[in-house]
Symmetry: C2
Subunit: 258 residues, 2 copies
Amino acid sequence: MEKLSIVKIGGNIIEDDTSLNAFLKLFANLKGKKILVHGGGKRATAIAAKLGIESKMINGRRITDAETLEVITMVYGGLVNKNIVAQLQASNIDAIGLTGADINSMTSEKRPVKDVDFGFVGDVKKVAHNSIDKLIKADFTPVFCAITHDGKGQLLNTNADTITSQLAVGMSNLYETSIYYCFELDGVLKDINDKNSVIKHIDSSLYKELLEQGIIADGMLPKLENCFDALNHGVKTINMGNTNMLTQENDNFTRITL
Amino acid sequence: MEKLSIVKIGGNIIEDDTSLNAFLKLFANLKGKKILVHGGGKRATAIAAKLGIESKMINGRRITDAETLEVITMVYGGLVNKNIVAQLQASNIDAIGLTGADINSMTSEKRPVKDVDFGFVGDVKKVAHNSIDKLIKADFTPVFCAITHDGKGQLLNTNADTITSQLAVGMSNLYETSIYYCFELDGVLKDINDKNSVIKHIDSSLYKELLEQGIIADGMLPKLENCFDALNHGVKTINMGNTNMLTQENDNFTRITL
């Protein structure tokens, strides 16, 4: 199977044009077929504030009411996505910006109301891997923002990490798929207070050990759980590391495999 | 040659969800290959005002400074475009939303400063008809908003009528192309005060007559000049008429041919 790299960047780097442009040059240099996924929550929060819309969070999660969804659609789908596409075109990457509504690429279901009503938030149900592959086969590079749709005309806000892993699982039907989660840390740390304690390789058995020793906790725990879930559903390798270190050749990232 | 219909809707209909959804159903029912082009100026003006950004116009034309371009990118490329795409998906049209930056589809040049500095406004230089055709051949329906790019990373605001005619000229290399300009009037009127005076068919010789008689003037003059320019560059037919009358079979529109 041919290789496919799916790279995810978070909201922090999108705030800083210089860092973003440096990252996009690294992304442009990645070899082979590739997909970019981006968030943009911080920018959305700032523009919502300017528009007088309060960003409501419960347990660190955004409540997406109708007017917040409008802001997200403007900021993720328009401002952030189209500027990234234009920058990539300037680096000779034939990028195409997408939400899950475009080519019906990612269908989701509005999250049912239990204890909390998260509003217009979608949980991914289906990735149209064959339609997405038509774009890849045409030598276009998809750039996904964190928006899906329900197929009935409703756009839905969807976590960018989830979009990334669901996309990767879907594309694993057609490609040997690797994920690159890019963030501020150099990888998964053995000692959270020591930036130099990056674990180079985590497999299933080391993961169990680390869990038992309580080394993986807090924010990293759900991330790694999601990683092993994606690996168990066909994704080949997951890499986590610093946005400004992205290459396919280096071993700067934490590599995660079954 | 296979037929291709390119439909353009203006800013007014986008303001009204009920009219927009009714129009999108008519668009969905059009037979054969098709492309939609939309503006969104009124919505952009409203959101700019909410953000405290003054919309500067000279001779009825928007001056696009950096912060206005941000609003346009959010509103045209995000809010309006992605909601149209989601609605079309609900009508089983496999839509894909695009700016000129996506798949490098429309490259433009920042308008040179003469008497007026229009800011980040682009004049179309190149339509990548073969790239756009890859989407059409894959059975996707392109939905263009009124944004292009300069190929060097800069997005540019571009008149939606111009995008429509340039797209149509470009696609005429591959298809027998018809344009449908949809607006509030039933077509080109012989008597501007009589809504029932729609001229059913204008060809080159009638156009000359109407010009000589001074029947075509004001806003309609540049529109028709653009039409005949497009027809002289390969577009087969141009239709002008009421948004809520769009079908390929009826003769409600003014039909314009060489």
